[in-house]
């Protein structure tokens, strides 16, 4: 089996290449840090495996996702490295290319986004690049699939004789060269290392690569470690950078050709003049999100969901009931299937239209290149709370799912800022919470659905920011934050990319319906259908009811007085969608309309809003807790995350309920 590793700077379209080569879609976005872990794919009709690595600017990692790449190269030996570059930004992209070529593995250099280069009125002669660098050069424009077929054929027909090559060695200053040679010889002799790998390791070590220095420490590579002070005192790092840079400048000068440019109207600067406007930037940011919620709740999502709901609660339930009766099913089984599975799992599936509309909008934003601008216009606010605009991106991703949001926090350079972003991520209202909002707003605020939901989302952001400020004061985060963000060219959105982005995010929702929500529904059905006396037809005598009633005194101060809601909050920790499905099961209905009127009898709008806030904040779901544990490596922080959410949720709902009841 042949392995090809895909490597390149962020924003070079690596993931688009990966997707078109493997006929399988991974997650694509037009902003830095979409791939935070590596992904595997198979090139169709071949035995070649493609590994998509996170985008990196150099092999010296500054962030956690960048460290994945260096560690991959240290521990794995791909048969070929496909170095994807942004042709319009070749100069800085080649810095990474040189580091890769020094490794000595066979490389194909891919000049992607060749259209951007042509638009600049420039072109590079591939044969000169091939000559100087000693590797194959292929040009593509992945978004229009131009050149991808040839690249694919090249990779699929990869044979053993092509998979050998010798490393590139630049003409470093004599002192540096000598240091590299001495270290390499010692490593080959004393550690039985492969010569090319030893040489690459030496260059990287001398160049202050943090990951390689850790590797050397771990493997106790004395020849390198004993010279560390000398290397650094002589500023070999600076000399290496200068040598590489002047090599690239000479190379590009030699390969450069001028072509007549189409002289297109600069789309990017025109849009940027509006969306990054100092005054309008933030209002536009808020406006875009309001529009998204309008689309999902008022204009497109809700009407479709209602249609689906009337089918599931009407014909489907009736038909199932009739069929089961005719087949001789006992009342218990009928209750499990109709009031349990159809009501619970079906009750979640009706939200598919709303969620897909929301995801389509977020995918559109990601693909267009707006996300980096959003990071920019929010940076000033984020700076006030000790974070930077980059933290905003994981938070927005958290609107989809908090787990992916926390994963995206890996692109943040400062460990403390990363920890804070991880801890505040669960306050972002993930899509799993959406069904229950949708129900509550339909019951209590039918006229202002989008606005109320937006206010809950906004409240989540505000709470997250305030908590972050608290952590900043607590940790004493200094002002040494790194905020440098690349603003990519805008792309005209492409339907297939957006559709697949939407599907990629949304399919998880569908899948959850069949796994965790199904399980939660059965669990709550059992609890609400049985008591110590066995099967009960009246759920108010069940286990769930007695458990819920015991907790009423604790939750009454925030306006939650029905046992059904309290029991539903418990299953909500499994997965937030389960709150909705549990309510459906416990109210024995598969119809939203019935549930809405049932809810309306118990509480008033103020209590309903307090309930929304409590559901927004009260606890991260199990998967999110697991991810926090994974990413922080600390049980303490995980427990703290759960406890602090509960306290904040309780406090805030209490405030809203108390003040609201006083006013109304």
């Amino acid at each position: 089996m042949t392995t090809v590793a895909l490597l390149g700077n962020p924003n070079t379209g690596k993931t688009t290449i990966f997707n078109s080569l493997t006929d399988k879609y991974a997650y694509v976005g037009n902003w830095t840090g979409v791939t935070v872990e590596k992904k595997l794919g198979q090139i169709k009709n071949s035995s070649v495996t493609l590994v998509d690595l996170p985008g990196v600017y150099s092999l010296n990692p500054l962030t956690k996702d960048e460290a994945v790449v260096t560690s991959y190269l240290l521990n794995n030996h791909p048969d070929l490295i496909l170095n994807v570059t942004n042709a319009g930004q070749l100069k800085r992209n080649l810095l990474l290319t040189i580091e890769v070529l020094e490794l000595g593995a066979p490389v194909i250099l891919n000049l992607n986004m060749i259209d951007d280069l042509k638009r600049q009125g420039k072109y590079y002669d591939p044969s000169i690049l091939e000559d100087w660098l000693g590797c194959k050069v292929k040009t593509t424009n992945a978004r229009t699939h131009e050149g991808v077929a040839t690249l694919k054929a090249d990779l699929a027909n990869l044979t053993a004789d092509q998979t050998s090559s010798s490393p590139l060695l630049l003409d470093y200053p004599p002192m540096v060269k000598q240091a590299i040679r001495q270290a390499t010889e010692a490593l080959v002799q004393d550690y039985d290392m492969n010569h090319d790998f030893a040489q690459w390791l030496s260059i990287q070590y001398i160049n202050k690569n943090k990951a390689v220095r850790r590797y050397a420490l771990f493997h106790d590579l004395t020849p390198l470690r004993s010279q560390e002070k000398y290397y650094d005192a002589q500023d070999f790092e600076g000399q290496i950078f200068n040598t590489r840079f002047s090599f690239i400048e000479r190379l590009l000068a030699a390969a450069s050709q001028t072509i007549s440019s189409a002289n297109q109207v600069e789309l990017t600067s025109k849009i940027d003049r509006v969306v990054t406007n100092p005054v309008l930037g933030l209002p536009i940011f808020a406006g875009i999100f309001f529009l998204i919620f309008k689309l999902s709740f008022d204009w497109v999502g809700t009407p479709l969901s209602d249609l689906l709901d009337s089918f599931i609660s009407g014909p489907l339930s009736t038909w199932a009931e009739q069929f089961l009766t005719a087949a001789g099913a006992l009342p218990v089984l009928r209750s499990l299937i109709v009031n349990g599975l159809i009501a619970g799992v079906g009750g979640i599936l009706v939200f598919i239209p709303q969620i897909f509309v929301l995801f389509a909008c977020i995918s559109l934003l990601e693909d267009s290149g707006y996300m980096a601008r959003a990071a920019l216009v929010t940076d000033r606010i984020m700076q006030l709370i000790g974070l930077n605009g980059k933290s905003f991106i994981p938070l927005i991703i958290g609107f989809g799912c908090n787990v992916t949001g926390i994963m995206a926090a890996r692109t943040i350079e400062q460990p403390k800022e990363r920890l804070i972003t991880t801890l505040i991520s669960p306050f972002m209202s993930c899509s799993a919470r959406l069904p229950v909002y949708s129900l509550v707003v339909a019951a209590f605020f039918p006229k202002h659905q989008a606005l109320i939901v937006l206010s809950v989302y906004f409240l989540g952001i505000v709470v997250a920011l305030l908590v972050a400020k608290g952590y900043q004061l607590l940790f004493g985060v200094s002002d040494s934050s790194v905020f440098i963000v690349e603003l990519p060219q805008y792309h005209l959105p492409r339907f297939d990319v957006i559709w697949h982005g939407t599907w990629d995010k949304g399919k998880g929702f569908v899948k959850k319906a069949g796994t965790v929500i199904f399980a939660g529904t059965v669990l709550i059905w059992l609890l609400s259908s049985f008591s110590t006396h066995g099967y009960v037809t009246n759920s108010s005598q069940s286990f769930a009811a007695s458990l819920g009633r015991q907790l009423v005194p604790f939750l009454a101060p925030i306006g939650i007085t029905q046992w059904q809601t309290i029991a539903a909050l418990f299953t909500g920790i499994l997965a937030k969608e389960a709150i909705t499905s549990s309510m459906m099961v416990m109210f024995h209905t598969s119809s939203q309309a019935v549930l809405i009127s049932a809810l309306g009898q118990f509480i008033n709008p103020v209590a309903a809003y307090a309930l929304l806030v409590f559901i927004l904040l009260y606890a991260p779901c199990f998967a999110t807790l697991g991810t926090i544990k994974q990413e922080t490596g600390s049980t303490k922080w995980t427990i703290w995350s759960l406890v602090s959410s509960l306290i904040i949720a309780y406090g805030l709902s209490w405030l809203i309920f108390t003040i609201g009841s006083f006013l109304v």
Binding site: F241, V279, F483, E486
Partner: protein, 69 residues
Amino acid sequence: MAATYTLSHFDRLNEATQERLHNLGLYEGITVALIQRYPFHGPVIIENEHQRIGLRYRVFTQLTGGSNQ
């Protein structure tokens, strides 16, 4: 036409920031165009070789040799 600035004094910045700037092709002596400034010392957008980059006001003033803070 946008105002242009020459970047220098990279040694005043912390190592991570320096490195990130190098990664994006910004180094000692390079000329960039100032595209956008934000009020209240908010971020600054600069352009170099068709690449737009956003950075913080403080970093920008340090690089352009202005009085910091």
